[in-house]
C-alpha cells in the first residue's frame, strides 16, 4: 500500500481516484490541481506514487513529470490519459513515467497499475 499524490485539474476526477485508491487500501498524501502545484506538493509530501493528469492548465502533466523527475529521478509517476492520447503516453514513458491509466477509469485497472508501479 502506498502514499499517493493525485494530480488532476478536475475535482470530480480527483474524488473518483481518491475513492478508488482508498478502496484499494492506499493513503492519499495530497491533491494538486495543476503541474506547478504538483511539483510543490511532491517536494513537500514525498509521496510513494503520483497519479498525473496529462492535460492541465498552467503546466501540463508532461512538464510536471519532468519537474518531478528533476527533483527525484526515482519518482514513480503514473500518467492519466484519455483514449486517443497515445502519442502523449509515448512521450511520458520516454520522459520517465512508470505507467499509465486510461480515462474513463476502471477501479480494478487503476489498482492493478498502481500496485505494479509500487512494486517496481
Amino acid at each position: 500500500m502506498g502514499k499517493i499524490l493525485i494530480v488532476d485539474d478536475t475535482l470530480f476526477m480527483r474524488t473518483l481516484l481518491k475513492n478508488i485508491l482508498f478502496s484499494g487500501g492506499h493513503t492519499i498524501a495530497g491533491e494538486a490541481g495543476d503541474g506547478e502545484e504538483a511539483i510543490a506538493k511532491y517536494k513537500e509530501l514525498k509521496p510513494d506514487l503520483v497519479t498525473m493528469d496529462v492535460v492541465m492548465p498552467k503546466m501540463n502533466g508532461i512538464e510536471a513529470l519532468k519537474g518531478i523527475k528533476a527533483l527525484d529521478p526515482a519518482a514513480r509517476v503514473v500518467m492519466c490519459t484519455a483514449v486517443g492520447q497515445e502519442q502523449m503516453v509515448k512521450l511520458a514513458i520516454k520522459t520517465g513515467a512508470k505507467g499509465y491509466i486510461v480515462k474513463p477509469f476502471q477501479a480494478p485497472k487503476v489498482l492493478e497499475e498502481v500496485k505494479n508501479v509500487l512494486a517496481s
Binding site: L16, I20, V83, Q85, V89, F105
Partner: protein
Amino acid sequence: MKEVPAKVEHNNTWVVIKLGIGEDRIVLPAPVNKEILFKTVVDVAERKNILIVTAKAESEVVVKILSVEKVLQILKKMILGTCNAYRLMAYFMSPAIRGGVMITGAQWEKGSVVVVHTGIWFVSATKQVCVPVSDVAAIELTKREVQGKPTDVVRIDHLESGEVVSSLVLCPLSTLQVLFNFLKDTTKGMDMKGTELDSVDQQVAMLIYSGMDSHAIENMLNIPHKQLDAIYDKILKLGLAEVVTIRREVQLTAKGVRYISDATKAQTN
C-alpha cells in the same frame, strides 16, 4: 470436396457431422441436410469457437458450427472471401492501439475489410479478426504517420474486455471515404445523437463505469437516492446501462425491534 469433423447445432442439440467444404459451398449432411452457398451468406459472427453463419436464399438459414480453430479459420477465410458483403482490399492494423497506447510490434497487414450485418472483419492470409458492430465505440477518418508521412486512415474504436481498442484501415483516400460512410451507416444504430445527458448524468455514468455502487455514487456526488434513481431511469431508457442487481432498503418491524432489544439486554446482562 474436403470433409472435416465438426459439431453443428440441430434442433437445439449439437450433432457430430462430417462437414463438407467445397469451393463455393459448405455441405451439412444428415441429420442436418443443408447446403449453403458462400455467395448467399449475409452474416458471419464468431463466439469463442462457434461460427455463426447466416445465409439468405429463398429463406434465411442460420447455422452454428463448432470445430477446432484450424477448421474455423479455413471456413472463415473461404466464406468471407465470397460472401454477400461490403468488401474492399486494404491494409489494416488490428489491434493497433489498446487503452490509448500503441501496441508494440503492431504491423500493417495486407488483406481485406469485410463488413457484414453484425461485424467488421479484417481478413489476411494468416488471420481473421472480427469487431462486432455492437462493440464499435467510434469511427473516425483521421491521419496517421505511415512511413514517415501523415496519411489518411479510418480508425475504428471498439470495446474488448471493457477496454477501448483501436484498429486502423489504410487504402486510397476515395475508397477510404466510401468505407467510412459505409461503416458510419452500418453502425448508425449505435449513434449517440439525441442522447442528451447533463453533467451530473455524465458523472454518474462515468462512476458506474469506474465500478462505483449506488451508495458510493450518492456520497461522491452528494445527491439524494431519488435523484440517482431518476438518473438511472434516464440512462436505462437510453440503453446506456442495464440493471444487474436490485438492492432493498428495509426497516425493522415491531418484532424485529423486540428481537434486537432482547439481544442487547442479553449482551449487557
